[in-house]
């Protein structure tokens, strides 16, 4: 599904990713771990075409297409979803209107008709009640005045309704209580149908306990320096980065 080859990315002329390689196949769950500043968020931001990230070398192939030729919206409509670490507030834009617009943009991209309002409301009711997500969030303006937890729940509602193929979660567990983390895991696990893939960034084992990764990658100084299975995350949790031989290059 996704093949990243020798990727070099700079932000403000500073090279953050220094030749990163990653291969994600259909149905796989990958976890990305690493010390602060290693380049984890830069990778997912680059995959979703964030304006900060300048690709200086390397290639990204997604569903056999050159991802670097697609803009932000095209990537989203091709099925890439990034859950933001801190979703921005957009006053004056109704959340429900935003979501319906996003769904219709995706449908138009796929050559489908717009979703009927009744079908949209039905879909929201079905999906939010299944995971006990507060659908009142949709009556408010997009992320405006939302608590940290509400913002993350709102990202989950978008995730459910946009139904992407590659789910990228950038520290979705940060600032969430135990029950909210369980909700995240329930949503993601229920979406895993053998075709969808996940790339999640986390610092903690708690989320990985609930969404079992097939691969755990340790990123250091802009490169993946170690790859293993879930046991690598457990070892990391026990010994820390130094304990598994990762030296903090930023010091």
């Amino acid at each position: 599904m996704l093949e990243v080859k020798d990727l070099k990315v700079s932000i403000n002329d500073k090279e953050i990713l220094k030749g990163l390689n990653l291969n994600i196949k259909e149905g796989e769950v990958h976890a990305l771990m690493g010390i602060n500043g290693a380049g984890k968020s830069t990778l997912v931001k680059t995959l979703s075409a964030h304006y900060d990230c300048v690709v200086t070398d390397g290639s990204i192939t997604y569903k056999k297409k050159n991802l670097l030729e697609l803009d932000v919206a095209q990537r989203a409509n091709e099925g890439i979803f990034m859950s933001f670490q801190n979703p921005i507030e957009v006053p004056g834009v109704n959340n429900s209107y935003f979501l319906k617009t996003a769904i219709n943009e995706k449908r138009a991209y796929a050559g489908l008709n717009e979703i009927d309002t009744m079908d949209f409301l039905k879909l929201i009711k079905e999906q939010t009640s299944k995971y006990n997500l507060d659908k009142k969030l949709l009556q408010r303006d997009l992320n405006e005045g939302f608590s940290g937890g509400e913002k993350k729940r709102n990202e989950l509602i978008q995730l459910l309704l946009l139904n992407p193929d590659l789910i990228m979660l950038d520290e979705i567990d940060s600032g969430l209580d135990v029950d909210a983390i369980k909700t995240v895991a329930n949503v993601v696990n229920a979406m895993l149908d053998g075709k969808k893939s996940v790339l999640m960034i986390t610092h903690y084992d708690r989320l990985l306990e609930l969404i079992k990764p097939d691969f755990v990658h340790i990123l250091n100084d802009g490169k993946i320096v170690k790859t293993g299975d879930y046991s690598l995350a457990l070892e990391l949790d026990k010994k820390g980065y130094e304990g598994i031989g990762i030296k903090d290059e930023t010091k």
Partner: protein
Amino acid sequence: MRLNDINELTLPKKRDEEFIKVNFGELFSYDFKDTQTYNFDIMGLEVRRDTKDYENSLFDITKSLDNKQVILTINSNIPEPICLIHKIKDNETFFTNSLKIEVKENVKASIIEVFTNTSNNSAYSINRSFEINENADFEYAKIQDINDKNYLLFNLDINQKENSKCKITNFEFGNGFIINNIVNILDHKNCDYELNGLVKSQETSNTANVIKTVHNAESSISNINYKHSLKDYSRAVFKAKSIVNKKALFTKAFQNSNTILLSNDACIYAQPHLEILIDELEASHGATTGTLDKEQLLYLQSRGINKDLAYEILLNAYEGKIYHNINDKLIKEFLQTYERKNYV
């Protein structure tokens, strides 16, 4: 006819502090082939001579050409807004129109005025005078949708009596040369005055809002709030001056101008200005200028919304705050369904 050539007129100059940055030259020097006063298509309205001495000489332009003023008196509550649609067709003509709206005691009323044109090189010179009596509640919305190479000079004088409310919303949609000159001298207690504006300009549109508010009595509120979204080569001036005099204890005086510049060539000159002679009041003034938030744009795009649509959604959200401030549901509905083509 050139305004510059009318002897009895003392026209303001660009360098006058009150009108600094307002480019009058084009309007004052243009040679109009004809002048014309047009009347309302309403039967039975009283007509009087306008003898009032206004705060500035811009009011004198209409008066010097025709000093008759039509009087619209509202004696009882009206359930729906009165709509006054103005459309000029003749080219090279300077049109004048003067109307006084009297809202009687305890009456609730609302009015919408729309100014459009199909003319070339013509001008509206409009005088409006609002007299809002004790405990009256008046809401007024003006839509200006005048195209390129045409002018609108809109002078508004507001006179509020005790405990009255006056809410005005101006929508500037056209590409013409526009000057709004709005004066409210609050001589009575407990008046509530709210002035909102949306200046949505493009191409070579030139819009100036010159606003003067004077608080002379206790416990009144003035709240002036303008939003500008400027595209292409459009230019806007926002000059708001609020004076709070010694007798106007417990006044609340607010001014705010926000601008989004949507091109490198669009420009705004925004000058909110307070002159305060007392300590017992609440007051604030501010002006911001910027572009659309790129983080917000990215967020919308990251969910599959293309850049142009994301841009439009954010711009509508920004401008929407002015629409949301309107109290009268029917005025809101009118504005939501407003399209220029229906009025020209």
